[in-house]
Amino acid sequence: MAGPLEGFRVIELAEGVAGPYCGSALGDAGADVIKIEKPAGDRARGWGSRAKGDLGAVFQSINRSTRSIALDPDSAEGAAIVKKLIAGADVVVADAGFTKHPDLQPEALLAAQPKLIYVNLTEFGEEGPQANLPPYGELVAQLASEATTSLGNIGEATVRLGNDNASMYAGIFATQAICAALFAVDQQGGQKIDVSLFGAMLFMRSTLWVALSNPDFWWGFHLDSYVKPPEYGYMCSDGAIMLSLNGVTQEQRDAIYKEFDMEWVRDDPMFKMFNEDTAGVGRYAHVVRPLWDKGLSKFPMDHVITKMRELGGQAWPKNTYEMMVNSDQVKFIKMVQPVETPEGPLDQMVPPWEFADTPAEIQRPAPRLGEHAADVLTEAGFTAAEVAAFKSRGVLANT
C-alpha cells in the first residue's frame, strides 16, 4: 500500500496555505488528491524563494503529492467538470467562497452524494457576523486569538509568529476531521465539517483560557507569558542556548557555579533570587538572566551544553534552520530528502508520521498549473474528443 489512505479520492478547491497543506498531507498518506485551480493559479504559486524555476518554495512544500487541473469553476462548463470529478470522489476540501456556482455549494453536493465528506475552510467559522470568510488571513487569526501577546514587548509594535501557525493548524485539523469522517462514513454517512483558522488558534491556546479561571496564584508560564519580555536565550561566547534548571538540586547548582567560574555570583545582591529561581521559564528568570549571561558568555555553547547536561541541567542550542537541518540527529533520521522535480532535485522534509505497514511518502512533486488535466479528465470518464474540445475552447487553462 502507498499509505493508509490509498484508494480514497480528494478534490481540493483551495489555495494559500490551509487547504493545500491538508490536501498535500492526505496525498502523502496515499490519497489521490486532485487540486482544482483557477486559471490564474493558486495565489501561493510564487511565494517564497524562486531559486528553482517558477514554483516558489512555499508552494512546492505544501502542494506535493497532488495533481492539478486548472479551469474556471464559476463557468457553466468548468462547474460541470468539477461536479463530475466530485461525483467520483470521497472528500472535498474547499475554501469558503472559492466558487460561487450553485451546483458546487456544499448543500447541493451533499444532497446528491449522501456519503460525501465536505470540509468548509473559513477564517472565523460558519456562523456569526464574520461567517464564511475565506481562510487567507494568517495574521488576522493570530491577532484575534491574542497569540501575539506571547511575543514581543508590551507597548511595542506587535510581533507575529514567524510560522504560519493558524493556517497550518487549520490544515492539520481539517486532515484529522476528514480521516475521522472517513472512518465513520459507512455507519453515519457523509457530512459537512467546518474548520477555521480562528477556531484552530482558539483550540491551540485553550490551556490559557482554563488557566485564567481564577487560579490560586497568578504566575506560571501559562499566565506570565502575557507580561514577560522576549526570551532570546542565554548567551555563550559563540551563540545562544536554552537553559532550564527545573528539578536541579542545590548540590548540582553549586557544582554548576563552580564549573562555570561563577562563584562571584554569591556576592551579588540578587543571589538569593538567582539561586532559587528556575532558569528558563522561572518566574524571575528574565530578571536574573544577565548574571547567567555574564558567567556563560566566557564559554562556547557546545561546552556549556555538555557540562550543563552532565551536571543535571537542561541545555540546548538555539538553532537556525540551517543548524537544525545540518544537525547529526536530522541527518541520521534522514528527515530531509530530495524530491525529483522538472527543475532538478529539491530538498523537502519527509512526512511526519512513520507507519510500519503502510509507509506514507511523498508521492510526487507539487504540480505545474493544469499539469494533469488530461489524465484526470480521462480517468473521470471524459473521452479524448471531449478533452480536446475543452482544450480548444479554452475551458482548461494552461494546457
Binding site: 512544500s61 482558539l202 533520521i333
Partner: protein, 396 residues
Amino acid sequence: MAEGPLSGIRVFDLTLAMVGPWASMQLGAMGADVIHIEQPDQRPGAFMVPPTINGTSIGYISWNMNKRGMTIDLKSPEGRANAYELLKTCDVFLMNMRPDVAARLGVDYETVAQINPRIVYCTVTGWGQTGPMRELPGADGQVQYFTGGSDANGAEGESGEIYRHSTQFDSTTGNYACMSILMALVGRKKTGKGQRIDISMLKATTAMQTPRIAEYLMSKQSPTRLGNKAQSTAPDRAFPTADRRELGVSATSEEEWQALCKAIGHLEFLEDPRFATNTDRVDHRDELYAALDPIFASMPLDYWVLELNKVGVPNGRAMRWDEIRHNDQVLENNYIGPVETKDWGKVWTSMGPWHFSNTPTRWFRTPAIGEHNDEILEEIEAHRAGQSSQPAGRGQ
C-alpha cells in the same frame, strides 16, 4: 442521539505530561472511549505545572478532558493481567514514554500486537526512535530552540525569540499523533489489521513549520526577523492606525491587492512596477510599507475594518481573552464553552477545532486519578467471563 465519528473506538491511553494527553483528548472529543491509565505510585508530571487550583495543575485539568481515569500497577501480575484483558477490547494504544519503558511495563509493540492484532499502536518520542538524540528528553522549550522555531519569531533587528505560550509544540505533536491514529484507523477498515506508528516531536513540529523551512531549503537563507510582517507576502502586516491601535491586513492575492488600493483610494499603486505582483511587493517591501503607513495612520481602526470588509480584504484587530470570552463570533460558533470540574469549578475552554454536521463532538471534565477504576474493572471482569457487551475490537 447522534454520536461522534469515533464512537465505538476504545483507546488505551498510557500518556503523561502534555503531548500524549493532548492527542487522546481529541480522540475523546470525537467520541472514542479513552481510558487514561496511570500508575498508582506515579505523580503525574503535569501536576507540577503552575498555576494550580486546590492543588490540581492547569496542565492536568486542561489536557485530560473527554477521558475516563484508571490506575493500573503495570508492574504487578494482577495489574498486568487486567491491562492485557483490557487491551483485547481496545482499538488504539497510545504512549508517550521512552521505548524501554514500554518493555519494562510489558506493553511493548510485540506483546500488545500479539494480544490484539487489530490495535493501532502509536508511540510518541522527543527526537525519534533512532539517532544520537533518541535518549534525550523533549518538551516544548527544547524543541522550539532545537528546530529553529524560536529563530523565526522576533522584532526587526532582534534575534529570534521564544513563543512564550510554551505548550504549542507539545500540542502540535499531539495533533499529528491524533492525525496519524485516525489515518491508521481508516487504513484498518481495508486491511483488518492495526499497525505501529512512530511520532516524534522533531518531525511533527518541523512539519508544522513546513513553509518557513522550505524557504530555507530552497534559498539556504535562514529567515530574518520581520516583527509583524509576513515573510513571503505583502502587504501583510499590522498597521498603526490614527487611534493608536493596530490593524492586521493580509492582502495575499492580486484581487485582494487591487481591492485594497481601491479601498484606500490609491489606484496609482496599481500602475507602479515596484508593486505589480506579490513578488515585486515583497522585493520592495520597505517602499510599499512607507507608502501605506501614513494612509492607515490617517484614520481610526474601525474605519479601516469597515472599508476593507466591504471589498473583501482579509483584516482584523487584536482581541484579548476578556473580549474573546464574550465575542459574538466566538459564541455563535461555539468555539468556547464552560466545563464543570471538580477542583477548578467552572472553567472555560475550547470546544474543539472541528464542527461535524452529522457526528457532533463532546467535551467533558478531566477525571480524578482512578475515578473510574471500579466500573472499568467490572467491564474487564465481564469481558474475561465472556459476558462483555463489547467484543474485541468493537470498532469497525
